[in-house]
Amino acid sequence: MSEERTVTLKIKRQDGPESAPYEETFTIPYRQNMNVISALMEIRRNPVNAKGEKTSPVVWEMGCLEEVCGACSMVINGKPRQSCTALVDKLEQPIRLEPMTTFPVVRDLAVDRSRMFDALKKVKAWIPIDGTYDLGPGPRMPENKRQWAYELSKCMTCGVCLEACPNVNSRSEFIGPAAVSQVRLFNAHPTGSMNKEERLEGLMDEGGLANCGNSQNCVQSCPKGIPLTTSIAAMNRATSLQTFKNFFGSDH
């Protein structure tokens, strides 16, 4: 093991939501099995840039460190992904780190993903089970349905699909692929399906599902391999049928 081995990171930094972004380079000592987060922790421990100047530590968000919480998403060497599973040994150097561009920057690599959570509220991505008395157990879910629904439940609201989508941007109100897939998930649930129309109405609202342009970047980019474009097409079918039901009437 060479003692002088180093890792170089070029980080797009921003001091606050309104301030101008700038680039700062860091050279840190290499350790075995580093990921981008441990590299960022090294910078935090010793916030000195490549020119030897003392600087502020780089800000980023993290949670689970095992790619299930979605908090540490950032653009690494041009592609959005989680920094916890971005292994330094597998990355081309210098490693370029940027905040995701679809979301407002809070500081440095930390972004505000509120729009995703607002989207989940808009489409009512939950199952209401509260009542004034015990409703007892709900209907059973068929095993084959549970299996594909489980794949949809892996969504961690990480924002990668929104970052990759050409139709999610400041010029459009599109809620993005994640929330669409969550409607499919909750509508597939036997208890959740009792409120399926409400979720479909959310998808048919301004900025809803119809804003999808089928570039299908989302399904290519999703770190959890969620079949997002299948969900989108399935919800296209469901909302198309719902439109006819709403207009012509239906008891089903």
Partner: protein, 202 residues
């Protein structure tokens, strides 16, 4: 709660692109193809279309109103997207990008084409084989028409693919892939029909 204007406009935009506009484009190219059988056959076919009953109603409701909505709303959609094929160079993302580029090409081409033929006809010119032969004798115009026709046919074929997804007809990746092949065969076939007809005028 009724569906939002957003939802209805998008769905209508997708539908109108296929019915009637896609069907009209196919019919138009088929009539053009009569030119490969000679000037008389083309003039007879064009005259038949011209002499359809309640022609103005057909033109307004099958062509101009759907075209106007599809074009204006289409430009709005095209400029809403932030294209990113350099980062995400996947096939469908390229198709998404090309759909927007071809849409703008079609808009320019069709505007010019309507001016050069339909509006001239309204001002007294006769639309026949000779008119097109005169236009296409200019090599620049020939190139413009080839680009316009291929752009239009691509926009229709790829738009048909999106139509199948947007209305929820093709849901599985398998069916969507099959439609990619089907629509690209439609693109190639109609391009052949369109280009061969163009060269029949020179």
């Amino acid at each position: 709660m009724a569906a939002s204007r957003d939802f209805v406009s998008r769905k209508l935009h997708s539908l109108l692109g296929v019915i009637p506009l896609g069907l009209y484009v196919t019919q138009h190219l088929t009539v053009n193809y009569f030119a490969t059988r000679g000037p008389e056959d083309f003039n007879a076919a064009a005259h038949f279309m011209e002499s359809l009953p309640y022609r103005y109603l057909l033109e307004i409701f099958v062509i101009f109103l759907p075209l106007l909505f599809h074009a204006i709303y289409g430009v709005f959609i095209a400029f809403q997207s932030k294209n990113n094929v350099s980062t995400y160079g996947y096939l469908r993302n390229w198709m998404f990008y090309l759909q927007r580029i071809s849409g703008v090409i079609v808009l320019i081409f069709v505007t010019w084409h309507v001016w050069q033929t339909r509006i001239q006809a309204a001002m007294g010119a006769e639309v026949n084989y000779q008119m097109m032969a005169d236009i296409l004798s200019n090599p620049g115009m020939m190139i413009f028409y080839i680009v316009g026709v291929v752009g239009t046919v691509f926009h229709f074929a790829n738009g048909l693919w999106s139509f199948f997804v947007s209305w929820g007809l093709t849901v599985t990746p398998k069916s969507q892939r099959a439609m990619t092949y089907v629509t690209m065969i439609i693109f190639l076939a109609l391009s052949f029909v369109g280009i061969r007809a163009l060269f029949a005028f020179v």
